[in-house]
């Protein structure tokens, strides 16, 4: 088991190095950093000074490792557009995105699993059929359209909920939160539904199909033949076996939620990292793009790693098979 963990961690580090190379190449080769950082009035002396300062006169591998070293310490350079350190900008905006993603992820997982189990157990009921039909629509609807439709309904027509921004936030010094004020909570409702809906339908459909598969298994028949209560059969025997394969996809969906936050944040002008990234693309603000890429990669790779390790915890067969010696 230890060997497996070490191999997985090594793989993760390799992926991060590759992504780092991509990010660094963007940083180094897309446009001229000197051009981007100095205005129109510049002297050759300025250019030379900056070139040395940025280390652009050094060989490529040296620059690459310097970049990685800086990235590891959270140093991603200065935003071309705002002229401030990228790390500061991201730190300001991260709480907004993380709160949104956490609430959406929670909604998607809890409601998704509940509905998936329900539609699997009551597979022929009309409520299940309605849920399944609606979910097909949910999978086909682009996220931004869901957001716009929600704004149209709840902000324009009913005038119940705000259509943009985070509402009032409380500054805790190292973190700003919208979870402590009523206007902050209200502002969170539409964006989190928008962001979570797609993942929710995905999780629901996956849980349903996995659970139907599990319910066909012999050990479920045997559990019934032993006279166990329907509730025990469904939740103790079927649900647990259903959730094993669901863990991977759910883990990846959590990563996807952070990425899809870009879209939701744009629709709702949510002041998070995703909106920052979109603006960076529009204005070709390479340091911000590179930093975002690195950050999101760390999250994705981390989530993947955790998901893989969770497998061991949940499935006793893997503990024995891959672990080898006892």
């Amino acid at each position: 088991m230890l060997a497996y963990i070490i191999r997985r961690v090594a793989q993760s580090i390799l992926v991060l190095l590759v992504v780092g190379l991509v990010a660094f190449s963007m940083f180094r080769f897309v446009g001229d950093p000197i051009d981007n950082m100095l205005g129109q009035e510049r002297t050759q002396a300025d250019i030379d000074r900056l070139r040395t300062e940025l280390g652009l006169d050094q060989p490529f591998p040296v620059q690459y490792f310097k970049f990685l070293g800086g990235a590891a310490q959270g140093n991603f350079g200065v935003s071309y557009r705002q002229g401030r350190p990228v790390s500061t900008i991201i730190a300001e905006r991260a709480p907004a995105t993380l709160e949104l993603a956490a609430v959406s992820g929670f909604l998607a997982i809890s409601i998704g699993i509940a509905l998936g189990v329900f539609t699997a157990i009551r597979r022929d009921g009309w409520v299940s059929n309605v849920i399944m039909t609606v979910s097909l629509l949910g999978v086909s609807l682009p996220t931004f359209l869901i957001g716009i439709l929600l704004i149209y309904l709840f902000s324009v027509e009913l005038d119940l909920l705000p259509s943009f921004g985070r509402g009032e936030v409380v500054d805790l010094g190292w973190w700003t939160t919208g979870l402590l004020t009523s206007s902050g909570l209200k502002a969170l409702i539409l964006p989190s539904i928008t962001l979570g809906l797609y993942q929710m339908t995905l999780i629901m459909r996956l849980v349903r199909s996995e659970m139907l598969e599990v319910l066909r298994q012999d050990y479920i028949r045997f559990a019934r033949a032993r006279g166990l209560k329907e509730r025990t059969v469904n939740f103790r025997h079927a649900l647990k076996n259903t959730l094993v394969p669901v863990i991977t996809v759910t883990g990846l969906q959590l990563g996807a939620i952070i990425a899809f936050a870009i879209i939701t944040e744009t629709v709702f002008q949510w002041p998070g990292v995703g909106l920052l990234f979109i603006n960076a693309i529009q204005f070709v603000d390479i340091p911000v793009m590179a930093a975002y890429l690195m950050l999101i990669s760390v999250m994705f790779v981390g989530i993947n790693l955790i998901v893989d390790l969770l497998y061991f915890w949940v499935d006793p067969r893997l503990r024995a098979d891959r672990g080898g010696a006892h």
């Binding site: 050990y219 032993r226 166990l228 329907e230 025990t232 076996n241 094993v244």
Partner: protein, 327 residues
């Protein structure tokens, strides 16, 4: 004689399909006495497993009981509500499935699967259930049961897992066990052990057993009486020795002719020509007549009378009279 443990009368199972209603089980009747092992034998699709599933109330939809009665110790059980039937399963009727590799939940320790079954049916505490679980594992021959109780199914071999399955089926002391092909998925070397185990435990407890199999060898080894099924109907029913030594139904005779058995002076193995008809395209008259060497006009025109549990042995218009006569 006391009441039979299980009494099946004119049982009919039907599956409605778009074009027709199929009858995988058609007017089947038999009894099983306490401590008795009834072998149910037939080709796949003959309706033997379906009969077992009907008895324990686990027919997969759209299959459903369409006629007849099932009585357990005199009480009718084929029309019980789901929840009442659920209480009987495991408690009064235990079941052993074919494949021990897939019968056990891979994510639960075998001890948990045993105790949950006992707690569902018996008024005992968890500690008592655990003690009993260890005893049950010990009884089915799991070595070092006390330390293996917290193991997961994948840590056992196939034969050991089938022992665990048997322990599970017997742990609430049911009066009837339905064993559906309990040895088919096992290595030949383990098959005899499992059969001997099943036989010993049921004799000790006077548990009635319905042993469903396609293997005449297993029947000859374990069963007291045997029911031969063909295309959903009972072809022949009688004591094992009689049926094996002097079959009355031409199908049984064919079946015996194609099985190597030590108890019969074996010449050469023969095979029955053709194959069992599918349920959707049963011939008129006796379902066996297209393959029967003795078929006559009567067989083609008139269905054979169904066998009653307590009279007659073969559902055939022209039963084989005696072994000597037939040759």
């Amino acid at each position: 004689m006391s009441d039979p443990v299980l009494s099946v009368r004119d049982l009919v199972v039907e599956i409605p399909t778009r074009n027709a209603v199929l009858r995988p089980v058609d007017h089947v009747s038999y009894d099983i006495e306490p401590g008795e092992i009834l072998g149910v034998v037939g080709e796949s699709g003959a309706g033997k497993s379906m009969t077992g599933n009907a008895v324990i109330g686990l027919l997969d939809r759209p299959a459903a009981i369409a006629g007849g009665e099932i009585r357990l110790k005199g009480q009718r059980i084929d029309n019980l509500p789901y929840e009442d039937m659920r209480r009987l399963r495991g408690k009064e009727i235990g079941m052993v499935f074919q494949d021990p590799l897939t019968s056990l939940n891979p994510l639960l320790q075998i001890g948990d699967q045993l105790t949950e079954t006992m707690l569902a049916h018996l008024e005992i505490t968890e500690t008592e259930a655990r003690t009993r679980a260890i005893a049950a594992l010990d009884e089915v021959g799991i070595p070092a049961a006390a330390s293996r109780i917290d193991s997961y199914p994948h840590e056992f071999s196939g034969g050991m897992r089938q022992r665990v399955v048997i322990a599970l089926a017997l742990c609430a002391e049911p009066s009837l066990i339905i064993a559906d092909e309990p040895t088919t998925a096992l290595d030949v070397s383990v098959q005899a052990q499992i059969i001997a185990l099943l036989k010993r435990l049921c004799r000790e407890r006077r548990t009635a057993v319905m042993l469903v199999t396609h293997d005449m060898g297993v029947i000859a080894e374990a069963a007291d009486r045997v029911a031969v099924m063909y295309a959903g109907r009972l072809a022949e029913l009688g004591p094992v020795r009689d049926v094996v030594q002097s079959p009355r139904h031409p199908y049984t005779e064919g079946l015996m002719g194609s099985t190597p058995l030590a108890s019969r002076g074996q010449h050469r193995l023969r095979q029955i020509p053709g194959s069992m008809p599918r349920l959707g395209s049963l011939p008129d008259g006796c379902a066996f007549h297209p393959r029967c060497p003795k078929a006559q006009d009567r067989c083609r025109a008139n269905p054979t009378p169904s066998l009653d549990a307590d009279q007659g042995r073969a559902a055939c218009w022209f039963p084989v009279e005696q072994l000597e006569d037939a040759q």
